[in-house]
Amino acid sequence: MINKIVNSAAEAVAGIFDDATVMISGFGEAGSPIELIHALIDHGAKNLTVVSNNTGSGHVGLAALIENRQVKKMICSFPKTAISVVFPELYRKGEIELELVPQGTLAERIRSGGAGIPAFYTPTSVNTPLAEGKETRIIHGKTYVLEYAIEADFSLVKCKAADRYGNLIYNKTARNFGPIMCTAAKTTIVQAKQILDIGEIDPECVVTPGIFVKRVVEISNPEDESKLVAENRRYPWK
């Protein structure tokens, strides 16, 4: 019998090892798997390379993972928000690496990683500092830059509902990087707001087919990141 459901966030993130590459879904707080990230803080794996569009806000979620010095490198498109303090401070001190990637190139590198495509050419970033040192090629008279796929050891993803096969559906713009990150990791770990019985998700409506998912944990009342930030909360909770 296939049953990908695990009982706790701690069980879900078990086995994440030091030096792993970890993709984390979300666009700001929308779609960010905050309970899985907090479980990863408790778990303690270090020297991680994290692929995520942003770098978190305040002192919870991804920002807390960075603040806990578990991340050696961020691969992202927009490493700041109006309320991000942790990453900018460490970056200015030279204590965390940054690979800045245009958002569409980031998405395509992840998609390619999941699809067995090692690299691709794109016109995005040609003639800009982000293409410096990269291979270029002229195809049909236009210049393109070579970008390599990203594969991860683990992906942490938040979704709206899942079943024991790992079929997933998402909520509105919280979908963002989730479906492609599910495809690009050896072990995809999902927090779902609700676990449904097999068959309850219409096959026509499945967004991520279960083959891409290894573990699912139900988190029925996830924390509201912006509320935690507004209250200046810190993880680990004090």
Binding site: P79, G104, T105, K172
Partner: protein, 220 residues
């Protein structure tokens, strides 16, 4: 001593109105954060325009009423929005397929500098200590069919933002189609700038005097 005679030209709302006039019925449009967002309010009646936001929504609607905000329904600026009837949600690779695959008709962006060849710099001033952040800007200028820039003609310290060559890091080279400033509407045609319309009181000479780049007039 030269007497400073500053012409304010169009207001931000008037600039946005000019941009809106150039958005056709049925257009799929991506609006940058800030002044470009004003354009929504000026689309002429009878035109149906669909707004794309790169974090995965086609058919972005108005700002929600107070108390109706949903943190999982946001725009590229991470502000809460609504979805119109007929909207669709999709993941990031699909969203950037719309952008990079040339499916979005028009993108309206802000600018730090634009060059006389249609280069755009709008993501970084390159200052030491600044946190570099690019988001989707480079994808938009590389992939969207028509790129409009809406910007003040000069910086707050009076320097022309329309320059011979951008000194800030580029977002894209030869990517702009039309520039809307408080002083004029300027077309980029084969790596040259042509004035399309002047704001009230602005003469061609005045415009050129306040522009570092060379401006051309269309043949009469």
């Amino acid at each position: 001593m030269e007497i400073k005679n500053e012409i304010t030209g169009w207001s931000s709302n008037q600039m946005a109105q000019k941009v809106a006039m150039d958005i056709h019925d049925g257009a799929y449009v991506n609006l940058g954060i800030g002044i470009p967002e004003l354009v929504v309010g000026f689309i002429p009646e009878g035109r149906e325009v669909i707004y794309h936001t790169e974090n995965g929504l086609l058919g972005m609607g108005k700002t929600p009423d107070a108390g109706k905000e949903d943190p999982e329904l946001v725009n590229a600026g991470k502000k809460c929005v609504t979805a119109i009837v007929g909207a669709s949600f999709f993941h990031h690779a699909d969203s950037f397929t719309m952008i990079r695959g040339g499916h979005i008709d028009i993108c309206v962006l802000g600018a730090l500098q634009v060059s006389e060849e249609g280069d755009l710099a709008n993501w970084s001033t390159g200052e030491p200590g600044a946190i570099p952040a690019v988001g989707g800007a480079m994808d938009l200028v590389a992939g969207v069919k028509t790129i409009f820039v809406i910007t003040q003609h000069c910086t707050k310290t009076g320097e022309s933002k329309i320059v011979k060559q951008c000194t800030y890091p580029l977002t894209g080279k030869n990517v702009l189609n039309r520039i809307f400033t408080n002083l004029a509407i300027i077309d980029v045609v084969e790596k040259k700038l042509f004035v399309k319309e002047l704001a009230p009181e602005v003469t061609f000479e005045y415009l050129q005097k306040h522009t570092e780049a060379k401006i051309y007039q269309y043949p009469q």
